[in-house]
Amino acid sequence: MSQNRQYELVYIVAPEATEQEVADLHTQIEQIIQRFNGTLDKTENWGRRRLAYEIGHHREGTYVVETITGSGELMKEIDRRLRVIDAVIRHLTVRVDEDLRVAERLRDERKATQARRRVARGLPPEPSPSERRGEAHEDQDEDRIGLEGAEVQR
C-alpha cells in the first residue's frame, strides 16, 4: 500500500541532555520505525556543535542524523513524536531517494559520455591516473589571464 522511501532525519537535542537521554531518544525512534515496518539504514551522531543562532536560549546542541527507509506515515509519526519531546529543540526530515537517484543518473551519464568520447578518440574508455593532470589545464589558462590582470593593475 504505502511505498517505501528513503528519508533523512536530523534532530538537535538540547545540550543539557545526557548521553543516556540521547541514546534513549534513539531507541524510541527505532521502536517507532519497527512498529511501522521501516528500516533504520544509518545513524550518525555528530556530537555537540555550536548552533549558528540561538534556538530557545540554547547556543549548542547535539546533532543526530538518521537515514530511514519507510513509509510517509512512519515519518509523520516520528515528526509528531519529536514535536512533543522537549529535549529535541529542532528536527528536519528530508526525502532523499529521488535526489540521490538523480545524482546517480547524472554521474552515470557523465561516465558514459566520457567513455564514448574516449573510444571515439581511440583511447581506452577509462582514463588512467596519469591522464588526470590533463583535465587541470583549464585552470592553468585562468591563471595566465589572472597574471595579465595583475599587469594591468600596475
Partner: protein
C-alpha cells in the same frame, strides 16, 4: 553619407572595445572568468549537511550570494538555494548576521 559610414564604423569599433574590456572593467581590476563550481567539480548532489561546501556562497551578512557574482549556473543555484535553506533550519548556517 560618408559621415554616416564613419559613424557606423565608430559604433562598431566601440562595441568591439566593449567586448574586449568586458571581463576587465575600467580601473584595472580584473574579475576571473566565472565558472559554476558545482559543474566544474562535478558535484551532482548539493548536500545540505556539508557546511564547508555551502559557506563559500554565504558572504558575511549571511545572505545567499547571487549568481552574477558567484557564477553558479541556474540549475545549481536552485539546488544550492534549497540546500542553504535546509542548513539554515538546522542552525548550521545563520539566517542573518549583524
Amino acid at each position: 553619407m560618408s559621415d554616416e559610414r564613419g559613424g557606423r564604423g565608430g559604433r562598431g569599433a566601440k562595441s568591439a572595445d566593449k567586448g574586449k574590456g568586458e571581463g576587465r572593467p575600467r580601473g584595472g581590476f580584473f574579475r576571473r572568468r566565472r565558472v559554476c563550481k558545482f559543474c566544474a567539480d562535478k558535484i551532482d548532489y548539493i548536500n545540505y549537511k556539508d557546511v564547508r561546501l555551502l559557506t563559500p556562497f554565504i558572504p558575511e551578512r549571511g545572505k545567499i550570494q547571487p549568481r552574477r557574482i558567484s557564477g553558479t549556473c541556474a540549475k545549481h543555484q536552485r539546488a544550492l538555494q534549497t540546500a542553504i535553506s535546509r542548513a539554515r533550519q538546522l542552525a548550521l548556517i545563520p539566517y542573518v548576521t549583524d
